[in-house]
Symmetry: C2
Subunit: 339 residues, 2 copies
Amino acid sequence: MASHPNRRILLATRPDGRARQSDFELVETAIPAPKEGEVLLRNTLISMDPYQRNLMGNGSSELPPMELGTPMSGPTVAIVEESHNPDFAKGDYVQTWTGWQDYAISDGSDLRTLDPGMAPLSTALGVLGHTGLTAWVGMTKYLDDMPGGTFVVSAAAGSVGSMVAQMAKLRDHRVVGIAGGARKIAYLRDEIGVDAAVDYKADDFEAQLARALPDGVDRFFDNVGDYMFEAVMPHFNLNAQAVICGTIAGYSDTGLPDRRDHLPRLLNLILYRFIQVRGFSILDHLDSYPAFLEEVAPWVTAGRIKYREEFIEDFERIPETFLTLFEGGNTGKLIARVG
Amino acid sequence: MASHPNRRILLATRPDGRARQSDFELVETAIPAPKEGEVLLRNTLISMDPYQRNLMGNGSSELPPMELGTPMSGPTVAIVEESHNPDFAKGDYVQTWTGWQDYAISDGSDLRTLDPGMAPLSTALGVLGHTGLTAWVGMTKYLDDMPGGTFVVSAAAGSVGSMVAQMAKLRDHRVVGIAGGARKIAYLRDEIGVDAAVDYKADDFEAQLARALPDGVDRFFDNVGDYMFEAVMPHFNLNAQAVICGTIAGYSDTGLPDRRDHLPRLLNLILYRFIQVRGFSILDHLDSYPAFLEEVAPWVTAGRIKYREEFIEDFERIPETFLTLFEGGNTGKLIARVG
């Protein structure tokens, strides 16, 4: 067993607004000992994701936040170091949710065994993990397939958005991707292969959008909400369908934007154009992993779905790297290789 | 064949805003003659409905308006006066869409034969017609059944709303009805039998609403939109579902209400509470009439679903009676008995 101590990055304080370095605390503890039925896990890959901000509390999530003083919660890939559970052997790789620490104990119920021969293990945190499952479930369970229809994706250069855009292409939709800045637009055009890319940071965003949507919008996979949804919604065709998979701001009942109220207009569109707008919980669909992997893993290994990962090698730098997610600059899934 | 001429009330002008008496013109023409395969229909019951305003044009509907100079479009019950179509016999009663006139020709494709022994013929225009089908389709096809859950209906004293409220009770939901004014609230409590009735015209509307929703909202059948939806939406539970079946205002892209923007808040609720909001077209569900009647007609004939009708006997008064719909005073389905 490794001799170095068990490093853990704890949630020290709940952020008020944007998270800061001082919200985290690095501590070193003993390596825990598994009991009968349990396994000892050592994290090898640790994911950093925007939604983790919501787990810290004082955010817009409706779910209870994680406890203060516990390791920052999040998905990981771990290796089984010691097993007292017949379902797992020493050396097995698993995808789990042990967060920002070296070692953890599990009774096995929250582990998904990985096949290192199928795809790089890091994909279990992104394109073949929760990110990919989120994209796939949103598309296949909450948007009726409509080959030939116009499919719009916002934050299309992001980890969920780029996957949705590529799956929509593979399903023969006409795909319009929205992202911010010339670099992301070039990525959408040259790498992701969208039919049209629209820059929301451009002065003529709405005109660009209108030009990209000569036949309106049939499906909208929205990772932004807010002004983005309001820009797209006038283009909804009859029977259009939208999924809300992310929003950029956590408005309370009182903290509403100081601009004219767009909600009655949306309700009219829903009424007269027979539209549906839906959210979903990925936790209701974890049993879809096999069906998801069966369809998507071959696309990933064949290079038909591209993805980007950025690695850091230094456990201590996880908090500061996580914080860069909220500056909009990074272009791939952020993963720490540890141990 | 009847000897009096064929009276027709034509759409003379498209209203700008609220419809007026001068938008209509009464003319008298010859009775048309059916050809081979056709039937001559004489209207006996003519419906007056709020959505007919949208058919007149310059409204919020996305559908093309009816043509100027043609009889005002709308649902009717007619008797077959002369038949050259083997599917219909003289004396048959049918539900059709011949609008505000005495006589019309049909090739039979738009006729639904009525059984006068099943229920009063007038119900084919309301509780057992499009009104009832709209309520039933919205409930059964667009809201998952959830016995024991809290079901909210707005405009609950109206023709669609009162039916939805009663069907929700028959499906063992806890039903909260919203309506305006003491008379409608008493009707909801005493006749419709809701579990709680909330008066949106009261000064303490939002407090009343909160008291009526101690366990939040699971299903919302909204006939109002606008401020009504905005008042109900903070109470949405996880996995709440809403159907938009009516809105009170036809907001254009530019004519948005001058108050803070509630749409980003709704998108956050959709994201974090896994909500769905949907519209639907009753025209996609006309083949559900048999299933609808099979379930609902016995409830109506047994008195388990109550409904209200108001009759006028004078064809010429149809326009002025129609216009009263927009003053909010009437309390039942408006029907003209003619011929």
